[in-house]
């Protein structure tokens, strides 16, 4: 009941005209970003973050969350109309969305995607509301030892559960952590890793610089290389009759959609998993539990609904640990976390106590963002069809300029712009060589917290390393972390020493 009262207060904030406008603006921008092939929520948030200085911090976070949401809806648009996922999160939507479009049912597929996203988003926001307070209360008991153990556990999920090459994952985690130590030592205040006394490194490497480089410049370079021919846009017209049909068809799929929502929410909470595997898993479950599994991949509307509910639910799920524990559940929420820290709104349990207006305003804005997204998505379908015809070179040029200027704006140093270009090229090459980028960004964002909590614990315990295991909560986290770390090793040994990773191409 207390939660309901807080949520009602939150709506008072999020339904104010300015915040409502911000949500509508963010969702619309997100839909366009998501609809562009190659650009997803993480790219959108990275590129737009420097531009959000224009509004006050609490509104900026609402704007970025709305973009995150919009991009999750928008990803389906290019999956269906172009057959190219608008973002990796919408890969599973192409399996049945594309065949539907080729059969002339693009309009129906788009409506199904929008409605499914709405259902997934709404169910998961309700779950979010229910879990937020208990989780934040639990986190209040966390000291530095628990914080360190939790961050360690977040990283080991990448090794234990992530689908990427284990060695390369470890490299990327370490690289992110080492980059996070550049600048002044947290405890002694001495400069370290300043590379020949370059003054630009004294303030450290900002998460924003890495994110704009990797997800802005790097993504564009990757897309330039992989887009040899211009894709064909399938025409899509929708009428009110289609809308009625769509909603009636969707009404028969509650089982698939609620399953996708729950699955997405819980998978989304894990840093290593997130929206893409959640969508693929939901698709797989929908197919294997269907009465007619053979129709999947040939334009079954359930094959659009299942992944779309799951990826939207996952995006909400990944916000939960970010807001309550300060541990992001996805690269996009890692950027949101970095942004919040930059604006002085440190996520974690204390935020619920110190800034309840902001927290509940944000949570309630997720509800309004969902309503706005489904309405704008369906209303603007003709506009998206037109926008997808925009030449790719125009998009690239605009994104590149936004990366340069957006990278300069926060610190006003050319040093950061050079770093962005460097990270862009490096990120592009690493991605081509199958190095996962999500752990790199997460490690850079969480690095300072990890080092600080580790060293604080040791100082307060007079150098007793066992302190991490002796405390019950932190001991549990460490045990889980160890399990995740050992898991791939066990798999490897059980296979009789054969390589557990697929050989590189």
């Amino acid at each position: 009941m207390e939660t309901l009262a807080l949520l009602a207060d939150g709506f008072a904030t999020s339904l104010s005209p300015i915040n409502l406008m911000i949500v509508i603006l963010g969702v619309t921008a997100g839909l366009f970003i998501g609809a562009m092939p190659g650009l997803g929520s993480v790219n959108g948030v990275a590129i737009v973050l420097p531009l959000t200085f224009i509004v006050p911090p609490s509104s900026a976070i609402i704007l970025l969350c709305a973009i995150y949401y919009g991009a999750m809806y928008g990803g389906a648009i290019s999956s269906i109309l172009l057959g190219i996922p608008g973002a990796s999160t919408a890969v599973a939507t192409t399996f049945d969305g594309r065949p539907m479009a080729q059969q002339g049912k693009a309009g129906l597929a788009l409506i199904a995607a929008a409605v499914a996203s709405f259902v997934g988003g709404t169910i998961s926001v309700v779950l979010f509301t229910l879990f937020a307070v208990p989780l934040a209360d639990l986190a209040l008991a966390f000291g530095p030892a628990e914080e360190f153990a939790l961050v360690l556990m977040a990283f080991t999920t990448f090794v234990g559960l992530g689908g990427d090459d284990k060695l390369k994952t470890i490299i990327m985690i370490c690289l992110g952590l080492v980059l996070s130590t550049v600048g002044l030592d947290l405890i002694s205040g001495q400069p370290r890793l300043i590379f020949g006394d370059l003054p630009g490194f004294y303030s450290g490497v900002s998460f924003l610089v890495l994110a704009i480089g990797v997800y802005g410049i790097g993504e564009i370079l990757y897309t330039i290389e992989s887009s040899r021919t211009a894709p064909q846009v399938t025409p899509a017209k929708i009428s009110l009759r289609d809308l009625g049909d769509g909603i009636r068809t969707m009404n028969r799929m509650w089982r698939t959609m609620s399953l996708g929502s729950f699955l997405g929410f819980f998978v989304g909470m894990l840093p290593a998993a997130g929206a893409t595997p959640a969508a693929l898993m939901a698709y797989g479950i929908a197919r294997s539990t269907s009465k007619d599994p053979k129709s999947f991949g040939k334009g079954n509307i359930e094959g659009v609904a299942a992944p779309e509910t799951a990826n939207n639910a996952a995006s909400t799920g990944s916000l939960l640990p970010m807001l309550t524990l300060g541990i992001p559940g996805s690269p996009t929420t890692a950027l949101l976390l970095g942004g919040m820290v930059m604006w002085g709104l440190m996520p974690g349990p204390m935020l619920f106590i110190e800034q309840p207006d902001f927290v509940w305003g944000l949570i309630s804005s997720l509800y309004t963002a969902n309503f706005a997204a489904v309405a704008i998505n369906i209303a603007l379908i003709p506009l998206f069809v037109w926008a997808l015809r925009m030449p790719f070179t125009v998009l690239c040029a605009i994104v590149m300029v936004l990366c340069i200027v957006g990278g300069f704006a926060p610190s006003q140093k050319m040093h950061d712009v050079w770093l962005i270009a460097g990270f862009g090229v490096a990120g592009y090459l690493l991605r081509k060589a199958d190095y996962p980028l999500a752990p790199l960004v997460l490690a850079l964002v969480l690095g300072p917290l990890m080092e600080k909590s580790f060293r604080q614990t040791l100082i307060s315990e007079q150098g007793n390393v066992l302190a991490f295991i002796e405390r019950p909560l932190s001991g549990t986290f460490i045990a889980i972390a160890a399990l995740f770390f050992v898991l791939p090793l066990v798999k490897y040994l059980r296979k009789g020493g054969r390589r557990s990773v697929a050989p590189a191409e």
Binding site: D165, R192, L221, T393, I398, M400, Y435
Partner: protein, 162 residues
């Protein structure tokens, strides 16, 4: 593909060693007085893990049979290199000629020369982008972009908006 994999692994190993070399400027061992590691310990030991893991990647790729797959799409590699060069040239020009010359030049190159689009689109973007940037960053956010030698040209505009 394998060659590229090896080159990248070696590059990461070199980078890790470089990080380690810088990290030893601060104590990397256990500090008995305060308890806990010194300031250089975190970057040093993590770089060491990175070095060893990259070594593992290198050894693994050396044990594999070479494959004929290419790392780059040879047709598109030229485009990527062109764009990267243009990007670096633009960034280098910003402090000299100013953002309001360098960025329109980049857009003109990208849209007209690289993208081969029509004059109307090129002109609209080449003129529209700097105007948008000026009003968004300088007028609204009061963030001044570098102007280089073009700085005096902006004095009348400053007088108008500030």
């Amino acid at each position: 593909m394998l060659i590229a994999d090896r080159v990248i692994a070696i590059a990461i190993m070199a980078l890790s060693a470089y990080f380690m070399w810088h990290a030893i400027a601060l104590p990397i061992g256990w500090n008995g007085m305060t308890g806990g590691p010194g300031g250089g310990a975190f970057p040093f030991w993590l770089s060491l893990i990175m070095l060893l893991s990259a070594g593992g990647v290198l050894i693994r790729s050396l044990m594999q049979a070479p494959s004929s797959q290419h790392f780059f799409d040879s047709q598109m590699l030229r485009s990527v290199i062109l764009v990267v060069v243009a990007l670096f040239v633009t960034i280098a020009l910003i402090p000299v000629l100013g953002a309001y010359i360098a960025i329109p030049l980049f857009i003109f190159w990208y849209i007209k020369i690289y993208g081969r689009h029509g004059w109307v689109l090129t002109a609209a973007l080449t003129i529209g982008t700097p105007v948008f940037l000026f009003f968004f960053f300088e007028v609204t956010l009061k963030i001044l972009l570098p102007k280089g030698v073009t700085e005096p040209l902006f004095f009348p505009l400053y007088a108008m908006f500030f």
